[in-house]
């Protein structure tokens, strides 16, 4: 919503605030100003002049030398190249030292362009005659301006006077962000009422007088509303002997300030009233209305209708139409029809001011793909009581402008008038709610300033304030009058609440910490991705992870499914780094996956947070395994973590992947990214990936610590060096140690592994160091030897041979 400040000042006499002061105050009062435009700020010393004579420039074909009367004793000599220069034309003239806002091509120069007298091809020129663009405006708002050339002023424009003021270009236009609850403020009157309240000044709208001088409209038209839900009120008045002409300069000026292009008196009046009252109106050519009848009904499915912009529209049965005795003449609240539009030879006009259901208008205009000024206002849901005020105002303007003869009376179909609401007046409650101590009388005065009536214990709410429903709404009114800035600052009372972070968050934060201290930086990737990732990741056609939560209105296919796998985002980020030649990259993410319970989705999916890490560059599989184990150990999973090398994950290297298993549960998996997958992301290096399901870890995690003492008795260490068949994993060997080592085996450590010719074919050499310790005494060979024998015997069953 925007308003001209000049218009507001006219409605709020005494408003002397500067544009900046005005905007700041309105913002703090609740009508936030987005910005304001001071159109005149780059215009200076521009007057109205008349071209008295014109002669050719001796040295330039396209230039002429003009003598321009600017109301001074001597005419001004100005050289111009404008194509439409003509003797007798009145034009804007910039005097020597003045400023224009931009070039004649419409480009604007911040701070303006200074015009100085000088010589043009040797001939003295003492100023410049201007186009509308040079005045900082456009043909959009001055449709009578030529496509190029000087802007011709009306013949009665006063010579020598300030042209900027004359054209209304010295105005300031203020742009507000009106919140959706304040429907009344989508009107100049609404804003002016707010301004009057904000500055504690009287509000003086134009008084609407009785209009009509002959006949009775009821004789000429009847109105019938078939769908009363979608049209709560319909008013109609008639204007005879219409004389189409341009509207007066003051009206054009105000319309222009709103960015509305003046057309003719009748159209301008309806637009003016729409802006002033926030009530869209429509004017029909009465002679094209068949059967002296208006019917408001729903369209038929598939009905075709040509709107006044000449476009044929296809309607559906949820759209509301305005019809006459035979045919549709307009789409209610959106746009009139070509068949009833007024033309320059219109004789009788029928004005419509009605109230349509906002939601219906919004949805209809959406389906039609046409949002008009009118529909934009209707969709907010208007006060039906405003319709008649706007109608009468329009008729008053018709009389004032001499645009026609207003017929007596009004046709007004309004079955269920909206009544004023009554809400208890509870100043103490407002104060308790706000933390203030505003006297009840002051609150009463606030309310009355904005036209709420306080009668006894009740506040009577005018119908234009549909937003005020209960005490909290009134508390807000009190607060904004009092000033949000004056409300004290306190902290909530009340018992010490238990602040804190859930275990879940603690585990996630631990993952972050371990990852960071392992050299990984934290990434964030989108939760939705393309369904094409499944093929890219070599996922089988029938894999359940292809069952996704799918967005019905995505930004595009690439953002259409909620991820069921965690790898795509982070691998894409690795690829970004790889593509930018970052020598290595280690990233992690705490990323949710979204697993539908059924497809199509009827329930909310299972959202599972994953600890995801990936890298390329320095490091290998075991680097990643280290990250997993550090994390799990820190999370209190102190038991044995095992790895199952047959995880079967299609996007990982088949020989270099494993499920991570703890107490029989799979916590996640890790591995080298399959070379084909890495290549399809553009990574020509080995990449590694880790995924741990955090909800599973959260269940097992424990942050309890119990000191278990430090072993004081000396340990005994035995090294064991062996050759092992190549298919026996370290895990199998270690299983033997654990099973046979008993209570005395404290720990073991692999310190050498080797495959090569010396070891022989299909075998590898492995060397472990085993540490034995007794809790209650110094351990002896007699303790250790039998255990070692058991271990060696058991290894023998795996075809492990000791090396001597």
């Amino acid at each position: 919503m925007k308003t001209s400040l000049e218009w507001i000042r006219a409605l709020v006499p005494g408003l002397t605030a500067s544009p900046k002061e005005y905007c700041d105050r309105m913002t703090m009062f609740g009508q936030k100003v987005e910005f304001y435009t001071d159109f005149g700020k780059d215009l200076d010393r521009i007057v109205i002049g008349e071209i008295k004579s014109m002669e050719k420039h001796p040295d330039a074909d396209h230039l002429v030398i003009c003598q321009v009367d600017i109301g001074a004793a001597e005419p001004l000599q100005i050289v111009t190249g404008a194509p439409n220069t003509a003797v007798g034309m009145k034009v804007p003239v910039v005097l020597d030292g003045g400023k224009v806002a931009g070039g004649h091509d419409g480009s604007k120069t911040e701070g303006g362009i200074r015009i100085k007298k000088g010589k043009l091809r040797g001939v003295e020129s003492n100023g410049m005659m201007c186009s509308i663009e040079e005045l900082g405006s456009s043909r959009e708002v001055f449709p009578d301006a030529p496509e190029s050339g000087l802007y011709p002023l009306p013949a009665d424009a006063p010579l020598g006077e300030d042209c900027v003021h004359y054209l209304g270009l010295d105005d300031v236009v203020v742009d507000y962000e009106i919140t959706s609850n304040r429907v009344d403020c989508f009107a100049v009157l609404g804003i002016a009422r707010e301004a009057a309240c904000a500055f504690n000044l009287p509000f003086k709208p134009d008084v609407v007088t009785e209009t009509g001088s002959e006949g009775n409209v009821a004789d000429d038209i009847t109105v019938e509303i078939e769908n009363k839900e979608l049209c709560s009120r319909y008013t109609a008045r008639e204007v005879k002997d219409v004389h189409i002409a341009p509207s007066p300069a003051w009206m054009q000026k105000r319309l222009r300030s709103q960015g509305i292009r003046p057309i003719n008196n009748i159209v301008d009046i309806t637009n003016y009233v729409m802006v002033e009252y926030g009530q869209p109106m429509h004017s029909y050519d009465y002679d094209k209305i068949a059967g002296k009848k208006i019917i408001v009904r729903n369209a038929a499915n598939g009905e075709k209708f040509t709107t006044l912009d000449g476009q044929e529209r296809t309607l559906d049965d949820r759209m509301l139409m305005i019809c006459d005795g035979e045919k549709a003449v307009g789409i209610a609240g959106i746009m009139g029809g070509e068949n009833s539009m007024i033309t320059d030879d219109v004789k009788t006009v029928l004005f419509e001011a009605a109230t349509f259901d906002g939601t219906n208008i919004r949805l209809s205009s959406k389906r039609l793909g046409m949002r008009t000024d009118a529909s934009g206002i209707f969709e907010k849901g208007l006060d039906p009581n405003n319709a008649i005020l706007a109608m009468n105002r329009a008729c008053q303007l018709v009389e004032e402008l001499g645009a026609g003869t207003v017929v007596n009376g009004v046709v007004d179909i309004y079955e269920n008038p909206v009544k004023e609401k009554h809400i208890p007046f509870e100043p103490d409650k407002y104060n308790a709610f706000l933390g203030t101590d505003i006297p009840a009388d002051t609150i009463k005065e606030y309310f009355e300033r904005e036209e709420l009536k306080v009668e006894g214990n009740e506040v009577i709410i005018p119908t234009f304030r549909q937003d005020l429903e209960e005490f909290a709404d009134l508390a807000e009114e009190a607060a904004r009058f009092y000033g949000y800035d004056k409300i004290p600052t306190t902290l909530p009372n009340g018992g010490a609440a238990m602040g804190g972070i859930a275990k879940k968050e603690r585990v996630a934060n631990l993952a972050r910490e371990v990852a960071r201290f392992s050299g990984f930086s934290e990434a964030e990737t989108f939760s939705f991705e393309s369904p094409k990732v499944f093929d890219k990741l070599r996922i089988a056609a029938d894999d359940p992870c292809r069952q996704t939560v799918t967005i019905s209105n995505p930004l595009g296919e690439d953002f259409s499914i909620m991820r069921t796998l965690s790898i795509n985002g982070i691998l894409t980020s690795l690829a970004t780094n790889y593509g930018r030649r970052n020598p290595d990259a280690r990233l992690f993410e705490i990323a949710k996956i979204y697993l539908p319970k059924a497809v199509p989705v009827v329930e909310q999916p299972d959202e599972r947070e994953q600890f995801v890490a990936a890298f390329y560059g320095e490091g290998d599989f075991f680097t990643m395994k280290g990250v997993a184990e550090e994390f799990l150990t820190q999370a209190g999973l102190k038991g044995k973590i095992t790895y199952d090398g047959s995880a079967g994950i299609p996007y990982l290297h088949p020989g270099r992947q494993a499920n991570i298993i703890y107490e029989g549960k799979t916590l996640g998996f890790l591995g080298e990214v399959h070379p084909l997958v890495a290549a399809s992301y553009g990574i020509k290096d080995r990449a590694y990936f880790l995924n741990i399901d955090l909800p599973t870890v959260v269940e097992l995690a424990s942050f309890d610590h119990k000191y278990e003492g430090i072993q004081n008795f000396p340990a005994s260490t035995r090294d064991i060096s062996m050759t092992v068949p190549e298919d026996i994993t370290a895990g199998r060997i270690e299983e033997v140690f654990e099973k046979k080592g008993g209570a005395l085996l404290e720990s073991f450590r692999l310190f050498d592994i080797y495959e090569g010719i010396q070891v022989g074919p299909h075998r590898k050499s492995m060397a472990y160091s085993l540490t034995f310790r007794a809790k209650d005494r110094s351990i002896t060979d007699d303790d250790v030897n039998p255990v070692m024998e058991k271990i060696i015997a058991s290894l023998g069953e795996l075809k492990v041979e000791l090396r001597k």
Binding site: L491, G499, A523, M562, S573, F588
Partner: protein, 340 residues
């Protein structure tokens, strides 16, 4: 006779010690003079030739000589050791400007950094951090927040829908509704999390971003408490000199509603390019819980009042760390992340 010999040994010792080149030669001297087969030891062996009455005096002389030699040896040794240490230390001088052998440590995401600061402030004020589903029911995202079907605000928020009933949440407010429904009062929570709006990606928009919403419900909660709490938050987050400004606004779920600006932390409020000359930067929306919202979730607005606020995490991160393009947050270029 012995006396002269002792003198000779003593002189010899002095001479040899003076000529010694290191602790090794001192050792040789000790062996040659004081050792089992050393000169002084041999001299002692000739004590038997000394008249018994002279023996104590001679013995004393021998011991004195020995002590003196040992003392000199010790002194000489100490000097040598000092020299050797000095030589070693000077030999071992390193170029301290050579690169450090650092552990490789990664960096937090700026969102996490900002979130942890925010969480710290609010948990310090007794707030519990809670979360909820991102794929949400329409009821929890809109209806329970006083945004009924066909409300224009639903359009404004450009919602991603899964189906008519299920959507990607546009705000974390659903978490608050669920908390109220649990019926355990008072409530003091913040709910951080991902939210979604159908905005194309550009320097200031992302279809995926994060919000941190907060809610307090208790008996006697006032608008002034909201102001005080958020002022405290702003001061802790942006510095003690930060000033705040509350402007009236409208949200369907709060009444009265406000937007909070903070004084520009770059220029202190004088106006600069960062705050577009305003001196103020808008950072959050807030308000008193709308009685309708309380009622819908089973809280009696005549008994309990409350406030709520919502802040965009990315907005805070971008402002606080002076990041000029939101896309950087989701690209994960390590050269960007390394700066946090």
């Amino acid at each position: 006779m012995i006396k002269e010999d002792l003198e000779a040994i003593r002189a010899k010792a002095a001479e040899k010690i003076a000529a010694a080149e290191g602790t090794d030669s001192l050792n040789d001297i000790r062996v040659a003079l004081l050792g089992k087969k050393g000169e002084l030891t041999s001299l002692l062996k000739s004590m038997k030739d000394v008249a018994p009455e002279d023996r104590p005096a001679v013995g004393k002389m021998v011991n004195e000589t020995r002590e003196e030699i040992e003392k000199r040896l010790a002194e000489a040794k100490k000097t040598f050791e000092e020299k050797e240490l000095e030589a070693r230390l000077s030999r071992e001088k390193i170029d301290v400007t050579l690169p450090a052998a650092r552990n490789r440590i990664g960096h937090p995401h700026p969102n996490t950094l900002a979130l942890q600061e925010i969480e710290k402030i609010f948990t310090g004020m007794g707030y519990e951090v809670v979360d909820g589903p991102e794929v949400e029911r329409d009821y929890y995202n809109f209806e329970a927040l006083n945004i009924p079907a066909n409300h224009p605000a639903k359009d404004e928020q450009d919602t991603f829908y899964i189906n008519k009933d299920i959507l990607l949440r546009t705000q974390t407010s659903g978490v608050q509704v669920r908390q109220m429904e649990r019926g355990k009062l008072p409530i003091r929570i913040i709910a951080p999390g991902r939210v979604y709006r159908a905005d194309e990606v550009d320097a200031t928009h992302s279809p995926v971003f994060h919000q941190v919403e907060g809610m307090v419900i208790d008996k006697g909660i006032r608008f002034s408490d909201l102001k005080g709490t958020l002022e405290e938050f702003a001061k802790q987050l942006f510095g003690a000199d930060t000033r705040v400004k509350f402007r009236p606004h409208h949200f369907p779920f709060t009444e009265p509603s406000a937007e909070m600006d903070v004084s520009c932390f770059k220029c202190g409020g004088k106006g600069c390019r960062f705050c577009k000359g305003e001196g103020w930067i808008e950072i959050l929306g807030c308000g008193m819980m709308h009685p309708k919202v309380l009622r819908m979730s089973g809280v009696d607005p005549d008994e309990y009042t409350g406030f709520a606020f919502g802040v965009g995490l990315e907005r805070i991160a971008l402002l606080k760390y002076e990041i000029d393009d939101m896309r950087l947050l989701y690209e994960n270029d390590t050269r960007f992340l390394d700066q946090f």
